[in-house]
């Protein structure tokens, strides 16, 4: 024990004597271990921790989905109802709407704001095993179509907006201008996150009864999720067997669903997964890939330190020889060497733990992907840090130490401390460097590919002119806006209120902004309807295309005269015109939004825009004047999607207060849910690729910096060790340029080998990046590979960066080698 303490004291003294090395090592380890611990914290909390529900292992997500899909719980209304009625494997089943939606909550003082609502059936919370902390769950009556309006509050909303009123149950709250009875408050432990829009996570503020009914507009689509609790004694395999038998029975009863096929012409089927897998499946690939990336960074950090430690340990060869000659065993020497790396690893690890504590909230705040709620993991990150510290000690401490122990003490002593690098030692340093370069190269390739893909996506034209274009969204839900007249009156009031505002050039309204969500359904030219097809529907006011900067290619724009009394008209996108009437004018043709819907006359063709994502190909889109939308359709679009005001400004003016005033004066209970620029909307649509590319660039940059430090250290030391050799070469005729090139050549050779190995390993990168991006980039059925930039260019960019960095890192040692004075170098005589 005394020996160990003495060794640690000696290690501390040695480290104090080399502050540059110590600082580099500690910071490298702190960043490496910190990033790894932070990522592990998230992975452990999200992917590995059990769900916060009683007997969570008995919970499953049940989907009506295509084969080969990731674990999910998607259901159509019909399939969910069918399963609920026919299954025998589940003791209870819960259905919810797929994602949250914004609703307007009005407070007593007439102030209204938007909150996130999730619709669930009355089986949802009992299935999860969660009880309200105040009040009760929804009753059967409340969950029935047109039943009493009830609401469950989240703990946070109850605390924030109702001051934790213990008597809140049975009180009335105003939601979407309607009165709802508060039936209960959910416990604080229930933090539910769900997707409110693609790629945007939000917390649920209230739960409303689902009231699932065949009359729901979304009933036929896959707009629902299903959770179920397995009956006692039934395994998930047995449940799956039952579900497999139910699929053909379902198709027999509802043949419509058998026509839903994917690109591989496969039909859907019932499938159950453990709920844990369903909850994490959206984030799993990204989190595991990020974890792999930080582990790669940690590996680069360790290898880098191993290279530096190897060089440092070589300097101590003579000391080791003397210790050995004085009776130190190999074990004693190894302990001495390991002490130094252990001290570094523990200090670096402690700093890393502090860094990870800061990094986790930052990561969760900035990550644009929906991460499921994290479970507290207590002491685990600290334990993980300790494990990392021990592991790193082994990697960067043992390897260099071992090479010294293999040396012959007698030889080291005889050589009087002027020993050069043995072949074994040189190979050790070189190998470590090569592996480091290879790992860094993989990170660089991934970063380069992600950055290239992001830039490629970013360069895709959205189809709108974003300059000075502001968008304001309102949610028009509830009975008040379930008809066209009231909706149009509201829209007109807001438009009128803003039209005259200084700086407003043009203004128009739309239900379904480009790159946002909007209604879609089947339809097509009269006589050639494709009810299973996919057609994007947008309601617009006159001037919409001009305001957005979308050119009208032929025909005319929507006009004020296009109202409920005039001929129903429609504008179609260029893609729709080319698909439906190739080679001829679409003007005057007619389209139908379903079999029994009235025919709409095509009055214009407009340029394509991207409806949901820059990565998808332009869609078939139709634009109908707001004034001609039927009550039924208005109820549907208002029920599902917000209405957006597009405001083209002539200059940069702050329009927020004016928008709020105009909306409030039109309806005091309607809040402005979102006010932003169109550019921000576009930027948000590429937030995930941008986040991953910046993150990967950060990792790759750090690895590159470490590689430069390592290469500089290795080359500097090798030059020192080869001083005599360089002196001889100069004495026998080498000129200084040749010496410079000799050192650079050696360094470049190591890089070239590392690059080759890294290049082979990088072959898997495009697939990996593709699998990460396909979770967040909606491609509308196109292959994700169309989104990725060229792998070859990414590799060339990565290799160039590495070569440039290697050259920069080697140049100084090479210059030093070239300036060695042969008379000095050979003075050892």
């Amino acid at each position: 024990m005394n020996g160990l303490i003495q060794d640690i004291q000696y290690a501390l003294r040695q480290l104090r004597k080399a502050p540059g090395f110590t600082l580099t090592a500690v910071l490298t380890l702190a960043l490496g271990i910190g990033a790894t611990t932070a990522m592990y914290h998230v992975v452990q909390g999200v992917l590995l921790a059990p769900l916060p529900y009683p007997a969570a292992d008995r919970l499953v997500g049940v989907a009506f989905t295509f084969p080969q899909e990731k674990p999910n719980s998607e259901q159509a209304g019909g399939s969910a109802d069918f399963l609920k009625d026919h299954n025998k494997s589940f003791v209870s089943v819960g259905i919810s709407v797929d994602g949250t939606s914004g609703v307007n909550l009005a407070t007593g003082d007439g102030h209204a704001f938007q909150i996130a609502s999730m619709k669930i059936d009355r089986g949802y919370f009992p299935t999860l095993g969660v009880q309200p902390m105040l009040g009760r769950n929804f009753s059967a009556e409340e969950d029935h179509a047109n039943g009493p309006k009830a609401v469950l509050l989240s703990y946070l909303l109850w605390k924030r907006e109702f001051n934790g009123d213990k008597n809140i149950v049975n009180k009335i709250v105003r939601i979407n201008e309607e009165s709802y009875t508060v039936v209960g408050v959910m416990p604080a432990s229930l933090e539910v996150a769900s997707e409110s829009a693609p790629g945007v996570a939000s917390t649920v503020d209230i739960w409303q009864p689902l009231q699932l009914s065949v009359k729901d507009p979304g009933y036929a689509g896959d707009n629902y999720n299903m959770v179920a609790r397995l009956r006692d004694g039934v395994s998930i395999t047995q449940a799956q067997q039952e579900l497999s038998t139910l699929t053909p029975a379902f198709f027999k009863e509802f043949p419509f669903y058998e026509r839903w096929t994917n690109s591989a012409k496969a039909t859907r089927r019932f499938q159950a997964w453990p709920l844990q897998q369903v909850v994490v499946s959206g984030a799993q690939t990204s989190l595991l890939t990020m974890m792999a990336a930080v582990l790669a960074v940690l590996l680069v950090a360790c290898l880098n330190l191993a290279v530096l430690m190897t060089a440092r340990t070589w300097r101590r060869t003579r000391e080791m020889a003397i210790r050995s000659a004085l009776g130190a065993s190999r074990k004693n020497l190894l302990r001495l060497l390991m002490c130094e790396s252990l001290v570094l690893a523990l200090v670096g690890g402690a700093l890393g733990l502090i860094l990870s504590r800061l990094a986790v909230p930052l990561l969760l705040r900035t990550v644009p992907i929906p991460i499921p709620p994290m479970q507290s993991s207590g002491w685990l990150p600290a334990g993980f840090t300790l494990l990392m510290a021990c592991l790193t000690t082994l990697i960067f401490g043992l390897l260099p130490g071992w090479s010294v122990l293999r040396r012959d003490a007698g030889y080291a002593l005889q050589s009087g401390g002027q020993v050069g690098i043995s072949t074994h030692q040189a190979k050790m340093g070189d190998r470590l460097m090569i592996v480091q370069v290879a790992v860094a190269m993989v990170l660089l390739s991934a970063s380069s590919l992600l950055l290239g893909s992001f830039l490629k996506l970013r360069s895709v034209s959205s189809g709108v002119m974003t300059e000075h274009l502001t968008v304001a969204q309102v949610t028009l839900k509830g009975n008040a806006y379930a008809n066209a007249l009231h909706t149009n009156q509201f829209i007109d009031k807001v438009l009128d209120g803003l039209k005259q505002y200084p700086g407003v050039q043009r203004i128009a309204a739309v239900n379904g902004l480009p790159l946002d969500r909007g209604l879609n359904f089947g339809g097509g030219p009269v006589g050639h309807l494709d009810t299973a097809g996919h057609m994007e529907f947008r309601a617009v006011t006159p001037g919409y295309f001009q305001t957005m900067g979308i050119p009208v290619l032929s025909g005319r724009d929507v006009e004020e005269d296009d109202n409920i009394t005039s001929v129903p008209v429609v504008l179609i996108s260029k893609t729709a015109a080319q698909k439906w009437w190739p080679g001829r004018s679409a003007i005057g043709e007619e389209v139908q939004l379903g079999k029994n819907a009235p025919a709409l006359r095509v009055i214009g063709v407009v340029a394509d825009t991207h409806s949901r994502s820059l990565a998808e190909s332009p869609q078939v889109m139709i634009y109908v004047p707001f004034a001609q939308v039927s009550d039924h359709l208005m109820k549907v679009i208002n029920g599902w999607f917000p209405t957006t005001f597009a405001i083209r400004l002539s200059r940069n003016v702050d329009i927020a207060a004016a928008v709020q005033r105009a909306v409030t004066s039109a309806d005091p209970e309607i809040p402005v849910a979102k006010l932003t620029t169109m550019q921000t909307v576009i930027d948000r649509s590429v937030a995930a690729p941008r986040f991953f590319s910046y993150l990967a660039a950060g990792f790759a940059g750090f690895s590159l910096l470490l590689t430069m430090i390592g290469l500089f250290g290795l080359m500097s030391y090798q030059v020192t060790q080869r001083t005599r050799e360089i002196g001889v070469r100069l004495a026998v005729g080498a000129d200084r340029t040749q010496i410079l090139l000799m050192v650079l050549r050696r360094s470049m050779l190591l890089i070239a080998i590392g690059l080759t190995i890294g290049a082979i390993a990088s072959l898997t990168v495009p697939r990996l990046i593709g699998s990460v991006l396909e979770d967040y980039v909606f491609t509308g059925g196109r292959s994700i590979s169309t989104v990725l930039s060229s792998g070859t260019i990414a590799f060339i960019a990565a290799a160039s960066a590495m070569l440039l960095a290697a050259f920069a890192a080697s140049y100084l040692p090479a210059r030093r080698a070239a300036s060695i004075e042969p008379t000095e170098a050979l003075r050892t005589e």
């Binding site: 050069g420 004495a731 005729g733 050979l826």
Partner: protein
């Protein structure tokens, strides 16, 4: 061939300037075999480094085959040395990771000589020094005498006009030393001008002229038949 006029060399250490060569005047004619002697610290090796053009921090006049060395830049001096001078070291200075043949080839590798020609020259040199059988061995596999033989072979492969040897037998026993000195004599007979630094009177006998340095001053020169510090 060489003319040194008032060559001076000093090293600065802090505020102190230590003189190692003082006003050296020396003329070396082609075909001479000069031995430089003197006690340790007399400036022998420094003088050899000046002659080898490895050192360029001296003052004075240095004429090599009519060219003024002091007016040349570093690159020109290196080029001149590469073409005309060979160097033999006391501790051989063979490169451990190169074979005998590769060590001998080293000076040629720094010249623009085609590979085939280089191989022929190396083969000739190996043959001339009777070390063909050792061509693939590494320095650590050779005796001291054999290593020095390789060192000399490396120094003369490019047929230098001037061969400089710094204590060439300092690390060898007498039999090996004799063999090396015979080799120097043979080279001198073939026309190579040699300047050797040695402490050995026996080795000095192989030379045609001996100069002695003391404290950086030229103390004696058998050609000038002078003894005592020149001023």
């Amino acid at each position: 061939m060489i003319e040194l006029k008032n060559i001076e060399r000093s090293y600065k250490a802090g505020y102190t300037e230590t003189w190692v060569l003082r006003r050296i005047n020396l003329t070396i004619r082609e075909g001479e075999f000069i031995t430089v002697m003197g006690p340790s610290g007399a400036g022998k090796s420094t003088l050899l480094n000046v002659l080898a053009m490895l050192d360029d921090q001296w003052r004075g006049e240095f004429i090599f085959d009519g060219s003024l060395v002091q007016t040349m830049n570093r690159k020109q001096r290196a080029e001149l040395a590469r073409q005309r001078i060979g160097m033999v070291f006391q501790s051989y200075h063979l490169l451990d990771d190169l074979t005998v043949a590769e060590n001998i080839d080293l000076p040629l590798s720094y010249k623009n000589i085609p590979r085939a020609e280089r191989q022929a020259l190396v083969a000739d040199t190996l043959d001339r020094f009777n070390i063909v059988g050792k061509k693939d061995l590494f320095p650590s596999q050779l005796s001291g005498g054999q290593q020095q033989l390789v060192g000399i072979a490396r120094a003369v492969i490019h047929k230098p006009a001037l061969l400089l040897a710094d204590e060439p037998t300092g690390n060898l026993h007498s039999a090996q030393a004799k063999e090396i000195m015979e080799m120097f004599r043979q080279l001198n007979d073939e026309g190579t001008t040699i300047v050797q630094v040695t402490h050995s009177e026996v080795n000095a006998q192989y030379g045609t002229r001996t100069i002695e340095l003391r404290d950086g001053w030229m103390y004696s020169d058998t050609a000038a038949k002078t003894t005592g510090v020149q001023s």
